[in-house]
């Protein structure tokens, strides 16, 4: 078991990342809270040895995505997020940022993680494929389609 100091350090370093992935997937604060607790408890109980900060961060991203997916697999949960609920989630941000977040959050589930990892975290398609245990070509395809959707939503000229 990891120490309290290690847990607090991890919360300080990775809570924003976990929070962003939760935002991509989840619509309720209580679900986010559940995922937070689940992910950091797994970290405390995990005996995994990380070679670098990047390695550790990738672990948090993978565990958070998987935890969110597991939560959403619940039979009683809806897999699609109604647009009104997305509005509720993003309305506290500036209008420009809010519209971007809204566009990302309204993407189909299969695109959301890839867009987030590619555009925000800066992972390459190869790294995303490795992280998400997907074929690289699949990642390229999904990324290309996600770009198309975002271009439509956010304006094609600016989107690169």
């Amino acid at each position: 078991m990891r120490s309290e100091q290690e847990a607090n350090r991890a919360i300080e370093l990775y809570s924003d990342t976990v929070r962003r992935i939760c935002m991509v997937h989840l619509k309720s604060y209580s679900d986010t809270e559940d995922i937070f607790q689940n992910v950091f408890l797994k970290y405390v109980l995990s005996s995994a040895v990380f070679e670098s900060r990047e390695h550790e961060k990738a672990w948090f991203i993978r565990v958070t995505i998987n935890s969110c997916k597991d939560l959403l697999k619940n039979f009683f949960r809806s897999h699609t997020v109604p647009i009104e609920e997305i509005n509720d989630l993003v309305q506290k941000y500036e209008p420009e940022q809010s519209s971007v977040l809204e566009a990302v959050l309204s993407l189909p589930d299969k695109y959301k993680d890839i867009v987030y990892l590619f555009y925000y975290e800066g992972y390459t398609a190869v790294e995303i494929a490795k992280l998400m245990n997907k074929n690289v070509n699949t990642v390229y395809t999904l990324l290309s389609r996600a770009k198309g959707v975002l271009r439509q939503k956010l304006g094609g000229e600016e989107f690169e």
Binding site: D16, F40, V44, E96, L101, V104, Y119
Partner: protein, 252 residues
């Protein structure tokens, strides 16, 4: 546009309340990161240690205060020293008024049996009886034969046991119980059985008030003058204790 996505997500932060509730949750779920488990383990360990100490204390107490052997001194005063496994006197019983007087005049508890017996034998009370030519019977009762021999040997080698009229003998624990059931001390019970063989009508009550000399005289009157009790061994002096093996008077 990638910058827009980056800027948008840059503004998403984990709420402080979320971090704090997660921190608290981890403390709760991990029992304060194993510290509670540790303190629980320590508590359990301390409890076991306490139980072990108390148990050992009771066992030690029981062991110390449980007599495993007895030495009976019978003249007219009849007293019995109950001895623990460490050769210490743990209780003293008087079987008649003279015995009560003798016990009250000497503090014998927790002394080693040799010293306690010496104290009794050299007391004015007993010396007076010996000077009058009374018979003094020392009877050791213990189940372990080796221990019995060792005790008899140790007592027999002491000066007080070499005086005229002093006899000593050994019996097992069963004999001790029988004597108590008859309400007699070991020495008197031994003499009672001897007399009963010659005179079946005799009862414990008949002899409880007699001195050892009086009982021996009765026995002699039945047996005839030339017969001697099997426990009275004649050495250089008549009627002295026998010394078996390399007995030493272990008075501490």
């Amino acid at each position: 546009m990638s910058n827009k996505i980056k800027n948008a997500f840059d503004n998403v932060h984990a709420e402080e309340a979320l971090k704090q509730s997660t921190g608290k949750y981890l403390i709760e779920k991990t029992n304060n990161y194993g510290k509670k488990y540790f303190s629980k383990a320590v508590k359990i360990g301390v409890s076991f240690a306490c139980v072990a100490v108390i148990t050992a204390g009771f066992a030690g107490y029981h062991m110390y205060f449980t007599p495993v052997s007895a030495i009976s001194l019978d003249v007219n005063p009849s007293v019995e020293l109950n001895i623990n496994r460490f050769d210490r006197v743990v209780s003293v019983e008087a079987y008649n008024d003279e015995g009560e007087e003798l016990v009250n005049s000497e503090n014998l508890k927790y002394m080693d049996y040799s010293s306690a017996l010496e104290k009794l034998m050299t007391s004015d009370n007993i010396e007076e009886y010996i000077e009058k030519g009374e018979a003094v019977s020392i009877t050791v009762s213990v189940d372990n034969e080796k221990k019995r021999d060792e005790m008899i040997s140790s007592i027999s080698s002491c000066e007080y046991a070499k005086q005229k009229g002093v006899t000593c003998s050994g019996r097992n624990k069963e004999y001790w119980d029988e004597a108590h059931n008859a309400g007699l001390s070991l020495g008197k019970y031994k003499a009672y059985l001897e007399l009963k063989e010659l005179d079946p009508s005799v009862t414990p009550d008949d002899i409880s008030g007699l001195t050892m000399r009086e009982i021996h005289d009765r026995i002699q009157s039945f047996k005839g003058d030339n017969d001697q009790s099997q426990d009275i061994v004649t050495g250089n002096n008549e009627n002295t204790c026998s010394v078996k093996g390399n007995g030493k008077c272990n008075i501490k």
